[in-house]
Point group: C2
Chain length 302, copies 2
């Protein structure tokens, strides 16, 4: 049994296109309608063929839907929801894939009063963007967090849960506010720091940019991957999860200052103790299947 038969995806970038591929792979009987505000993306999606239909407006995309997935940057959720409000069937469940959830829930509740809203966040991604970047196994074994409002219909929640389980994801249900705090530390702060350090490195006077690139295998390149993520998406994440991000940033800065002081005053033991503790966390991530222990992440050494 399919949890949804007619699925509409609004926004056909990395996540939207991966969802389409994953529906094709795991729920092949479902009909997929797509819309993207960029006409070039719509044309490309028609070429790639992973949607049954591509429409010219968000309204036309949702008229027959029983599930509408908003896969647009978080900052565009409110406007997109308003655009399709008139055409959204009463029976349709509306969901999204945004990386911050309290602001999305508020935006959807405001724009679509009375709609069946079940926000979601699949914790998966790559540094690539656009409709060519999607692939069917992106969500395999990854977590998808659902943050239903207090008054959500239990049956709607179960259907969205079943949908993501069929896509290969593990499901967790969480309060939107707690989600935003957890993601601030596991995702938003790492991205912010990666963007910062790549920026710092490119502004030096005594070290050239080509030296930075040449010797990036010493650690720097691990940061550049996430600092290559979609700029619009990430701008919106930081704007929409401002309080939690600022709180985590403050804690991080305090910890960094403590390490800076330890280096300045030659307190090697303090460094050693921290470095030993952080190793244990890495081990647990590998044990729980959230990363690959292959040396150097399977980067090729021929």
């Amino acid at each position: 049994m399919l949890p949804f038969a007619n699925i509409t995806i609004i926004g056909l970038g990395l996540i939207g296109s991966s969802i389409a591929h994953a529906i094709r792979a795991n729920m092949s009987a479902a009909r997929i309608t797509g819309y993207d505000q960029d006409p070039a993306v719509r044309a490309r999606v028609l070429e790639l063929g992973f949607c049954d239909d591509v429409t010219d407006s968000p309204g036309a995309a949702v008229t027959d839907a029983d599930l509408v997935m908003l896969c647009v940057p978080v900052g565009a959720i409110a406007a997109t929801a308003k655009e399709l409000a008139e055409d959204l069937p009463e029976s349709a469940v509306i969901s999204d894939v945004g990386s911050s959830k309290e602001s999305v829930l508020n935006a959807l509740t405001d724009a679509l009063p009375g709609a069946r809203i079940i926000p979601a966040h699949p914790v998966a991604g790559t540094e690539h963007s656009g409709p060519d970047a999607g692939f069917a196994t992106l969500f395999d074994g990854r977590w998808c967090i659902l943050t239903p409002p207090d008054n959500a219909d239990q049956a709607d929640l179960e259907r969205v849960k079943a949908f993501w389980e069929k896509m290969g994801a593990n499901i967790e249900i969480m309060d939107a506010r707690h989600h935003d705090l957890v993601l601030a530390v596991t995702s938003h702060l790492p991205h912010l720091i990666a963007y910062t350090i790549v920026g710092t490195a490119s502004d030096l006077e005594d070290v050239t940019r080509s030296e930075v690139i040449k010797y990036s295998a010493g650690g720097f390149r691990d940061f550049t991957r996430i600092a290559a993520s979609d700029p619009t998406m990430w701008r919106d994440v930081f704007m929409s999860n401002k309080d939690a991000v600022l709180e985590m940033l403050q804690r991080f800065s305090e910890d960094l200052t403590a390490l800076q002081r330890a280096i300045r005053w030659d307190k090697g033991d303090e460094l050693f103790d921290l470095f030993t503790k952080t190793r244990a966390i890495r081990r647990r991530i590998i044990e729980e299947g959230q990363d690959d222990a292959a040396p150097d992440f399977g980067r090729h050494h021929e």
Copy 2:
């Protein structure tokens, strides 16, 4: 023609054992003598069989050497050099693999006056440690930076250069001080920041450690890999390259404060501009073969 026929490796961890494997693979006629101060490591190396000989003292390891590679943490270089000083043949070239070079050059010059010193730094590694972690292709296509003192013998330099070329590395020759600045930004600062953020995440009250691990695929796990590197090695790197690390840390903190301010005051354009710029750097790293562009670093999606 082999640049060196009798090679001694002191310190048989990830880098020392990888050098031994790479010598076997690329200069099979060379004889490899090994020493490690840890008797358990020596026993394990005998089992693994990648050295022709394993001795019980650094002195005994170097008596017949024409190349001595010190693969110990930077903080142990001075003591190790003193231990083998009496037995080091006048004709032997002494080199190392340390991640900071000015302090190593000073330590070697003090401990071994008149010795043929050619410090080196292969910019390659994984997060794994110990004699089981080594593999022959670790240096393939990676950079190896040589930082010879002003009075170095040109022939010695050429031999060390030839040695690393046979190991598959690309060679760059640089002043020790400049090396330390370049590596402070491409390697030392990224490691310091990764250690810090992993520490910050494990000290939260409102987010549990298992939540951090569970949702690490959102970006955090990229930091945990380098925060799992050898604690002793990294403590020594920060202690021995203190000035350059503190300078880079100061710049990074200023840049991070500017971003923090942009988030607090809703200046989305400033974020967007930085995030666009950092993307270009990623592209160049991939173009220059210092990383793999496969989605998600070749992590398995089945």
